[in-house]
Each structure stands twice: as structure tokens, then as C-alpha cells.
Symmetry: C2
Amino acid sequence: MTLLDETPDTRYLQLADTLAEAIRRGTLRPGDRLPSVRRCAQTHRVSINTVVSAYRTLEDRGLIEARPQSGFYVRSTLPALKMASAPSGRIEPPADDVLALIDTVFAAQQNPAFTNIALACPQTSDFYPGGKLGRMLSSQLRRQPDLIGQYPLPPGSLRLRQQIARRSMTLGMLLEPGDVVLTHGCMEALQLALRVTTKPGDCVGLESPTYFYLLPLLASLGLKALEIPTDPQLGLSLDALELLLNEKRLNAVIAMPTVQNPLGCTMPLAAKKRLARLMNDHQVPLIEDGLYAEIQFGGALSPAVKAFDRDGWVLFCSSFTKTLAPDFRVGWICGGRFHEALRKLKAVSSMSESQLLSETLATFLESGGYDHHLRNLRKRYAAQVDEARALIARHFPRGTLATQPAGGFVFWVEFPPGVDSVALFHQLLEEQICLTPGTLYSPSGRYRNALRLSCCYPFNARYTQALARLGARACEMSGLPPGIAQDG
Amino acid sequence: MTLLDETPDTRYLQLADTLAEAIRRGTLRPGDRLPSVRRCAQTHRVSINTVVSAYRTLEDRGLIEARPQSGFYVRSTLPALKMASAPSGRIEPPADDVLALIDTVFAAQQNPAFTNIALACPQTSDFYPGGKLGRMLSSQLRRQPDLIGQYPLPPGSLRLRQQIARRSMTLGMLLEPGDVVLTHGCMEALQLALRVTTKPGDCVGLESPTYFYLLPLLASLGLKALEIPTDPQLGLSLDALELLLNEKRLNAVIAMPTVQNPLGCTMPLAAKKRLARLMNDHQVPLIEDGLYAEIQFGGALSPAVKAFDRDGWVLFCSSFTKTLAPDFRVGWICGGRFHEALRKLKAVSSMSESQLLSETLATFLESGGYDHHLRNLRKRYAAQVDEARALIARHFPRGTLATQPAGGFVFWVEFPPGVDSVALFHQLLEEQICLTPGTLYSPSGRYRNALRLSCCYPFNARYTQALARLGARACEMSGLPPGIAQDG
């Protein structure tokens, strides 16, 4: 793990990150001239060389451009997505089609010949403190040589649940260790949450687009999916949700109000409060998927909806799979009024989690290194997202739109008319490049002109070439030239 | 781990095990006189001292007794259980009562002040090669330092699935790695098997008594339980099963034909073949729980029912939780004709298993140490079971019956009239001793006069005193003296 904060020769990266953040937040806007190198060095109390390196880094990330005899300017960014036409209608998830496609994607992901630019399965192992966790795991075994030979019983590691409860305050939640049930990743947390709040035949409200695995999961539980219009920047439409709640058409809602997958957006604070109030007023459970909530790019973390949960109708699910130890598959759920039922359902569904892995995570969290790690993780993913968006601006057909994610490592791209992402998927598969077409993200198969991109892969020539190939194919298909219109 | 086979000063233990096996199989019967020490030394080509030590060991285990001026005799063993009155009727599992009781038991198990003599959660960590697995795990991390930071995708470790497929031959099965789905322990395997073969409202046939967690599991899935008469020595009554299948009253059957929990019995080979034929003929899925199938005490392993599965109607579930690494919670399922559906359901239910833990298990299995470990594990559990049964013969009220397990570490005890195991449970809880009353093992709450005992705990003074206390309490309750009638 590189310690960006601490080594002097990476000061330029800190400066680049600060400026990138200003561009992302709109403090510096497309067409704005950056301060001169000399002025910037004075302002930030760094050397001229540091500023030059920082500006070059931002140029590489596609955020600024040099204009001869004039200076550095903020580049035109990708136009933001506006809300698509409102989806509607209750739909049986087309589980088999989606699963067959996902199977293809998973198989390709595991074939070293393929380049994956779409799945949210971190392969950026140098972004995660695997070495440190490995040493802590070995030292755990030295301290407790009996651990592997002992059967772990629910509710599992108290130390880990204490750490989870303590850390939940950073997202505005006040949890006790006894409120937390450990699960086998966030996927099991969502599965248990659905089983405990619904029965077969029930109808579950979803964001649109939504996390693709929810569709076969709902189908496997005999649940119906109802798409709720979702703004690419503001998240779930609460007006639409309120209408559906008033009409008593929803038995539960499952949503990612913070760093949504696939859009990358976070709901504004006021909307989160209103969402919590709506669910509690209507006494309908909200399953809040907080998987990416700790990887927010902004300064202060936007709190979870669970933070405003009056009567326990919000079930908060999360995991360390994307934030700390992808391989461990240790997740957790805080089930509010469903806690007791959840605790029991977990035990009869898969009993418990490995004590060795749980205690190792607890040791890492107790060591205080987690916040430092998260700061780095956010910066590194933010930088990769910037670079990917810059490549899209260069290679994708004119008229392409993309979301500006508030965190995580995925975002959503919408092509101009004439581009079919399912056809692109099949074309690129022949070139051993793997995509996830937009249709995967909707139970009604909409979003055929869109796709999700993921930046959790090493940002090497192979990845950038794959993005360029995708852009070229999309340009061919649409008949449009690459590159966005320059403004400013 | 003690290497019983290899160190010369443990030769007496080998001899004791050989003789214990002869007693268990009935080659030596209660009342039979053992060969003289001299003759035995000649026959087995060992020293006099070795024979003396072996006989003392068998005396300690309660299998033989010395009679003055006469020699050593095989002791009267506990009378075997005969089949109870046939259970019948379709029942909604009383999930909440059972769960509340199990919660108490689990909580007690985790309280160091309590002595547990009932749960099947190995705490005999020196029976498991934790040290060796820990070293293999650390070396895995040195070879693949990136492993913790990489997201594990289904279907998971090919090496582990290859080893599972290869080893399945020891139970008569011919599996390919592609037939195996890794799961989060056997509990998840059973849960997925039920979800993939049934729908809410369906009726599932169970052994009686059965594994207690099946009852709340069935309830959580909206399934009905139907108890099938089960012989304490021969297992599931196939005549009763055939009747129910003919009447089309079962949508699936879940059973442990090899080393049943809680009885400990294994079905005869011919019965296993008939069971496979019945299920295939009626096209009703059999979920075969093979959790203890590798811990059989006899010489050759009795094969799985899956070995005789003609058309793929048998789903075989197992785990390394009781045999190798209790903490890892890595299990597996071979789903026959349901394989594809199972593979998909696993992925949407909890995605995948840790690659680090799976690869570590694969390394252990490839190293060839597993068979040696299993031989030791079987001997050690067989010895603990013998000792526990000897203590029961000494301390429990006259008229107590017990099963003679064919493997594993649990067996079933039936008290004479007047003993209520639920009352015993509450009484002993006050003495900080934890039991599981027989009622837990039946959806209709029968077996109030029975309980399961478990020998997966260190066989120390604390454990033996707890057994003695249980015996004393049962004697008080029944008004009967302790000890079985002497015969021979």
C-alpha cells in the first residue's frame, strides 16, 4: 500500500487530488483557467516542480488541458445524464436470461484471455491491505492455535461486531454490537433481509437501473419486481415511491441511497430524511444496501438513511468485500425491528462466519488503520474513475452521456441513438472484452442503449485499449465521430 | 496431532482399538472371555506390557472388566434401542419453541462457565490439524500475496472441487469437479437444496428423530415436515417411505443414511440401494446429508446413497466442518439433476466462498494427509464414544437404552419411564450443564424421554462429572438405581 499522505515525493498527487476534487464539485468548472504554476505554488506552499507534476497528472486524467501561450484550463467533462422516461409496471424478473448473460460475464472474468471493464469485482489487489491482513491473520493463529479446529457459533465475533457498531457512527448510525448480525458478504445480507421481510408473491420496489443480481434473487424467492424511476444524480424518485406506498403496492423496497450501483449517485441529505420518514410512516421495510457507503469521494460522508430510521423499518446491509478484504466475504446486517427474526434466519440458513476471518478483520479495525486505508482507497478509485471518464470523452461517440459517481468505482454510460449495448456485448466478446449491457440492470430489459463501466481493475494499457475498442465499436454502430464537443 | 500409527509406545492403543472394534462388531460379545495376556501377546506379536496396557485402556473405556482369578471379560454393553412406535402425521414445525431452546443451548455453549455435553460443535481442537492448516494458509498467502485483495467469483476453487470429486470415490460416488458447488458449510448446502427442490407449502419427509435445525429451516421456507419412522440401528423405514411416495405425499426427503444425527446409525447397503431406487422411481428428490459419512468407525466405508443414484434425483451435501476445519465453514453440494439450478441459486444467495480458505483446504487434501488424519479422528471419536457409553452404563438409571453409533460423535439415549428430558434440561441448566432434550429432534415434540449426547468435547473431569450429574438427576427423577444389570 502506498502511503500517499506521508512520502514527500507524492505531494504532487495530493495537490492533484485536491484540484480534481474542486473540479468534481464544480468549484472549478469546464473552461475555467487554472491559476498559473507560480501562483498555485505560492497558494499551496509547494515547489514549482510539484505544481508542474500535479498539472501533468490532471492532464493525464483528462481533467485539464494545456492551451499554448495561455495556460491550463478545465476540460469539458462528459455531459451528465438526465432522468430517462419513468419506468412503470410490475414485472416478473426475467431471471434466466439475466443469469445466462451474467454466467457468460463471470466465465469471461475468470478467463485470463479476457479483459473485463464492467464487473464490480475488485482485481486491484494493491488497493487493499492484503499483506497487513495476512500478517494479522497469521499472528491471530499464533495467539489462538486452536481456532481452526473450533466450531464457530452464532452470533459470531463480538470484537468485530463492536468495531462495526463503533464505525457505524461515521455514517450517522448509533448501533450496538447486539444489533449486528454477521453474514456471508452483502449478498447474503440482502437475501436474508428479503426473506425476513417478504413472502412469495410479494412485490419489491427497486431503483431503475438496479444491481443486476437482485433480479434473479427476487425471482428465486418468488417475489415480483417493481421499478421505481431513479434520477441519475439524485437517486430514487420519492414522489413516485410515495405514490406507490399510498397505493399499497409495495411490500418492501430495496435501494442504495449512497453510491448507487450502477449509477454511482448519492441521494441528497433531505431526500434521505424524507425516504426514512416515508418508509416509517407507511410501515414498509426499506432494505438499504450500503455496500459502497464508505467509499464516498467527497469530504464528509453522507449519512445512511438508517441514521434517520424512527421505528426500525430500515435494514442496513453492508460488507467488507469492496472496502477492505474482498476474499473474506464477511458482511453484516443491522435489521432494526427485524433483528431477532434475522438473527434466527441467518443461523438456520448458513449458521455462522469464520471466527479466524472475523477476528482478523476486528484486529485490523482496532489497529486504527482503516480510516487511513479508506482515504487512500477513495483517492485511488476517484482517480481511476476520472481517467476512465476522460477516455470515454475521447473515444466514445459524440453525444455519449455518463454519470459522475459520488463514490465507488462504477458509473453509467448512455450512448446516443443507434447504439445497442447487447449487440456491443456480443461484438466485444469476440474481441475478448467483457461488458455488462444496460438491459441487465432492469427487470423490464430497458437501457439497451446504456451500460455500466467499472474501474476496479488495474488501469493499464490493456484496460485503456479495451475502453478505446468499445468506443470505436460504438462509433461504428452509431455513425458518429468520437470525442465530445469542446466548449469553453 | 498424535501419530498413533507411528510411535512405538502407542502400540498398545492400536491393539486396544483393534479389540474395541471386535467388541463393537460383535466378534467378541458381552460375557466372552478375552485371550490371556500371554496368548494375546503371541497372537499380536507384541510384548506382555503392551497387552496389559491395552487391556487397561479397554477397562477404562468400560468395554471389558477383570474378574479375580479368572481373566478379562467383555462387559455388558448398554442395551440397544429398538424402534419406537411409528410416528405419523403432517406437522407444522414448532419453529419458535425449538429456536428459543436452541438459542439457550448456543448461549450456554459460549459461556465458559457452562459444560456442554450435547451440541455437535467440535471443541476438541487437538483432534483437528489446525497447526498444519494454519501453516498451509500462511504459505498460500506468501505464494499469492494478492489473494485477500481479490474478489472470489463462483464457482470457486477448481483445485478444491477437483479434490472433492477425487475423494468422493471413497464413498462410491463418481463426481466431476463441475458437479460440485462450494457452499458456506453443510447448513447452506441443505438450505439451497431445499429451496431448489421445493416451493412453499410443499411437504418434506424427515427421519425421526432428525437434525434439530431442519425444523426451523423448513419453517423459514414455508415447508411442512412429515416424520418417517426410523429404526435406531437400520435408519429410515423404507416401507413407510414407499407408502408415502405411493400416496404422493412427499415433495422431497431429507435424510442422513450414513452416520445419522442424532442416532449415529448407518443404513445397511441393501437399504441404501433400495432408497436410491425408490427416489428415482418416484422422481422425488432425496437430499442426502453426508456430513459425518467420512467419520465411520468400521473398516471399509459404507457408500453414499448418491453412489446408486440412477437419474440424478439424489443431492449429496457435505462439509469439512466436522472432518477437517470447523472454523472454515466450507461445505459443498453435488446436486444431480438440480446442479444448474443450485449453481445459480448459490451465486444469488451468497455469491462464493473465500478463495484463501478453499485453496488452503485443497493444499491439505493434495498433500495426502487427509486419510491419515481421518483414521486418527475416527479412532479418537470412537474411543470417546466408548468412554461416554461406559459412563452411562455406570451412572444412568437401570433400564436406560442407548444407540451404538456407526461413526461420528453423537448418539441417542432413551431413559426408562418417569424421566422427562425437558425437565432434566432445566434442572441441569441451573448446574451450568447444557443438554439438548429429545423433543428438539422431532417436529411433533415426541422423544420427551430421550436426549442426544455428543462426544466432541475434551473428555476431561468436567465432562465426565457432567455426565455423572445427569445420570444422578435422572436416577432421582425415575426412582431407579444407577447401573445396568450385569449379565454373562
